[in-house]
Symmetry: C3
Subunit: 453 residues, 3 copies
């Protein structure tokens, strides 16, 4: 399959068009078809938590199957039709087949006076109601009379909430987790940008020459889906998760990507993002680092609840209050911008490559200095002429040797490579070749036990 | 009894007049009668550590019973008489029945040249001596001749040092302790203000609608009395004491109450006092927060000795070097000022009400967010129109909801409500109604185990 | 022996002249003779780690015995001769008996163009080579022709690397360690100044009226010698070492002594040196405190490797890049300066006397205040007249008493005397008499277990 799409751009462009019209919700056939679509490209395994299950403080809702929802005006004109836009009905509307006066209908209509052409996106998952969403300019023109409502929906108690995940194994079973949510119907930036970025990152990371960490990819409906995933995996994550983040609203036109740190604020991803924010490492799109808040945001609110307190942050480019199209039909493919999304993916990959060397390495020869001369890493002759050379071969003012001495000295499993870069006043990228050389010499490992002290 | 005194002012006014003339010391009948007086209003239990007992590094002294002490001048005029002022004799003077020349008498006379009308208060508990205290202007007029001394005192080895305490039980057996000392004879601010404040606070706290903590009240002679109390209760306090403070010199005219923090400096009382000092919470009389010092002060020097290191601070309004009447007869009822004392008691009660919500609460549903919508604490409909409302009923820019999210997220047993107020940039009082609602919903408790993380 | 040298100056002067000509290396007879010389004055025990032993990441090299090395010019003139200067041959040169053209010889010659009169000091311990070191002005005058080389050296596989140590026992078996290296041939500041300072300090500390700590003295060849010492003693040091430092390059003309802190940066020596740097304590020669670095320096690089992480710093006056004579023949007795060295030794002794009271004392009567009055440490009469006196005998504004109260309160085994001095805003020396009085009263000990709290 991958061969068919030589570029991320081409893959995203096609997948977007296929996925956009699917009539998603937090449960039901549109959501499951969407997950199936991603399974063509990633070995996702889908699981389902049955309706009625107790998930922490929540109860898993019934599946919502909505065949079609329509609203006719007194003249028989079709005002709303989910076959035209699946935003037209309140998500999780109960079935209705009846007529109403305009006054009776009014409380069931939703529109945006400030954006008179946009259809808003409205949900009511946990309290039974029904309603239609329509452009304000259509609503304003409605005349008194008899309106016919036909919502062909049904609630199924033998269903459940699905989620899907897969893992790219690495040298360590410590995991870096990338998740996104899948539940909104036809919305672009605030729905498909995240899963599509995950798909592209899966392709890239699977082609890396090596992976120090294992990489987990998760797709789930927002909130209830992450809680269902957590209900089955939170102990695994507590044991194995090194760091992770939600990818959401990663398209659009904001000139920077915002990273919202995890609650613990010291994961390897948190640290790398802080460095990118500070300009200590190069970044295609600038990163803005912000601290965790339980107010607003996405599934990180669940991962960072006090009982879990998992090191999971959130990455977004054009979020919530940063664009007019938030939760309405203006959030389309043009706004999401495939080319810009690919630049965002490039930026995330750069960050993940830093994460790869962002751990706390351990010196495997920690008792005194290792004898570097015999490995060609130190001048064998001690003379005035060698006092500015890093090895018998490298004359460089000793910069490389000095950085190597710092790395060896600080590699006790308690200092990160970021700490070392700060002490050496250089970037982590500057230290990468020295770290890889020391790994090759079996003098350094990211997976050994910390040195007792 | 309480009914007889509808106001604290009336009770304090009457009790002061009854207690002032009693001839107190660190032992003996005047002290025990004073304790008995308080037992009319509080269920204090008195205990006594026998004379000769070893109490840590100290030995409990004999009881001092002083019937009367008098000094006559060569003409038979009565110069000093404890029936007139019980400050007139050095506290713990040995018995004397003899005559002396003025030169012989001089080393046994104490007066204050700078305050020629005042009788100083002098003690010598642990080294036998005798002497008289008198106004300097009286002393200056003494003529040479034969002076008669009659000190009718006695040291009893079958007595002991008494102390008294009682507890107002609360929802938790963790204790907030209020102590004061009782040992000075006729002094007002630096003696009776503290025990009388304790009495009023006992009345108030016993009438609170609920008590999250238990409240312990302790009266003891200073230093040796707190050591005697500690010799019996220090293990109990180490296990159960949440925080406490000595109340002393709490009357007088200083425009603020000074809180001297405990040695650990992070008890719930320390934290509340720091907030009051910083103006983060409202206060009738301003609070000035100062750090602990073992130099000067009162019984906190014992509670905060390194072997105990108990979270006990000290509250004083007009202390030590802040008024002329310190340890002399100018420290009278007028200086103490009953009306001002009641304002001080109001201030302390305000602080204690903050202490009640000053702990580190625990989210009882810490795995993900609890489902707030079903409790009426979150909008059930997710639409543009509900994005600034806290619940289906409350439209408030989401302020209440945002604070609730922070409280739930930080309630891991490691963050205090003060921390939460700082993060929410509001007062603890602003958070009180939300905390009480979450307690009522069984989503929050101040008594649960911290969340593991 | 000591009697023969009433002054340190006389001893150092004589010992320098005896030791300077010895032909030292990191192994071999010149080194062992040097150690033997010190054994006249200190009960050093010598140990030897055999050639071929694995010492952590290193292999112990063969012994180098070099009888003599000479270089003749085409005219038979003697250009280099180790009987004239033992710097003339590369240390660890292999045996050679052959003739070379000037072109062939050139890669084996070392000189310093910027210091044309100096003979450089060059070593190649771990890679076999040979060569001569000579003044650049001599080298520049060499004519083409046939040069004869005779290096009468040999590598012995039945030898080893020696080191030597001894301990002056004190009241505690916790050790303060002073080390220096012995391996350079005829160099003064960067060789003999360190061991000679150690010798003088041994004499002084052995004559102290008391030693709270035990004092360990170590001499070893640099790097491989400290690793050999560590291979036998690192577990002992981990258990018993309170703090220590390398003494190196302690002569010369720099106006200050530089202390390079240990990696842990909080040993009692680190703390004392920081105080001296800050001017909080008096110092004959100013101390400059710098943080640890694994780049450059001496044996502290081994002690502070992450696997050991021992609290060992380094003291130097004129180091490495601070004088022209570094590693060449300009580093002579005149530069080292015996009189200046003695001042450096005075300075180190002052620091060590602070170290003696630099620990974390424990109050032996920690439950409440001890009853100071009965010990003559508190006024027994409490009157206005005693409110500014420290005891019945000492009227001093209570300064001494206040400091004593602080010392007793903070002596929980978690606060150092340096902490106490900072809180009392005085020097550690100001606290010394009070500490010694409390020790004498059995109220304070530097060796008791910390107070539980």
């Amino acid at each position: 399959m991958f061969d068919k799409f030589p570029s991320d751009h081409a893959l995203i462009d096609k997948a977007f068009d296929d996925l956009f019209p699917m009539f998603r919700s937090i449960t039901g056939p549109g959501l499951e078809a969407s997950i199936d679509y991603f399974r063509q490209f990633m070995p996702l395994e889908m699981e389902k938590v049955p309706t009625g299950s107790k998930v922490f403080d929540w109860t898993v809702p019934p599946e919502w199957h909505c065949k079609r929802a329509r609203l006719w005006d007194p003249d028989g004109g079709l005002i709303c039709d989910t076959d035209v836009s699946n935003l037209s009905v309140i998500n999780y509307s109960e079935p209705v087949d009846a007529s109403f006066s305009l006054d009776e209908l009014e409380p069931h209509l939703f529109s945006l006076p400030n954006l008179p052409d946009a259809i808003p996106y409205v949900t009511s998952y946990y309290k039974r109601t029904w309603g239609f969403c329509l452009p304000h300019k259509v609503r304003a023109a409605l005349k008194p009379g008899n309106y016919r409502v036909l919502i062909e929906s049904e609630f199924k108690d033998d269903g459940g909430v699905p989620f899907a995940s897969c893992v790219l194994p690495g040298e360590s079973d410590r995991e870096i987790m990338l998740t996104s949510y899948l539940c909104h119907p036809s919305l672009a930036n605030n729905e498909l940008s995240g899963p599509l970025a995950l798909l592209a990152l899966y392709r890239r990371i699977s082609s890396w020459e090596r992976r120090r960490y294992s990489y987990r990819f998760v797709l789930n409906p927002e909130t209830i889906g992450s809680l269902c995933f957590l209900s089955r995996y939170h102990e695994h994550l507590k044991a194995k998760l090194e760091a992770g983040f939600i990818v959401t609203c990663i398209g659009g036109d904001m000139p920077r990507i915002r990273y919202k740190a995890s609650r613990v604020a010291n994961s390897v991803v948190d640290t790398v993002m802080k460095r990118l924010d500070a300009g200590k490492e190069a970044s295609l799109i600038p990163i803005k680092y912000t601290t965790f808040t339980p107010v607003g945001g996405s599934d990180e609110r669940q991962y960072c609840a006090p009982g879990f307190n998992l090191p999971v942050g959130q990455l977004a480019r054009s979020a919530y209050d940063e664009y007019d199209g938030y939760h309405n039909s203006l959030d389309d493919k043009a706004f999401m911008n495939v080319a810009g999304l690919v630049k965002g993916i490039d930026t995330i990959e750069t960050a993940l490559r830093l994460v790869e060397i962002g751990g706390k390495p351990v010196n495997l020869s920690p008792y005194g200095e290792p004898q570097l001369g015999k490995r060609g890493l130190y001048p064998n002759l001690n003379a005035d002429s060698t006092r500015r050379t890093s090895t018998d071969m490298v004359a460089d003012g000793r910069l490389r040797l000095e950085r190597m001495m710092w790395i060896l000295n600080l590699s006790d499993g308690h200092h990160s490579v970021s700490d070392m870069a700060d002490i050496c006043e250089c970037s982590m990228e500057d230290l990468r070749p020295i770290i890889e050389r020391l790994e090759a010499e079996k003098l350094l490992s990211f997976r050994a036990e910390p040195v007792a002290s």
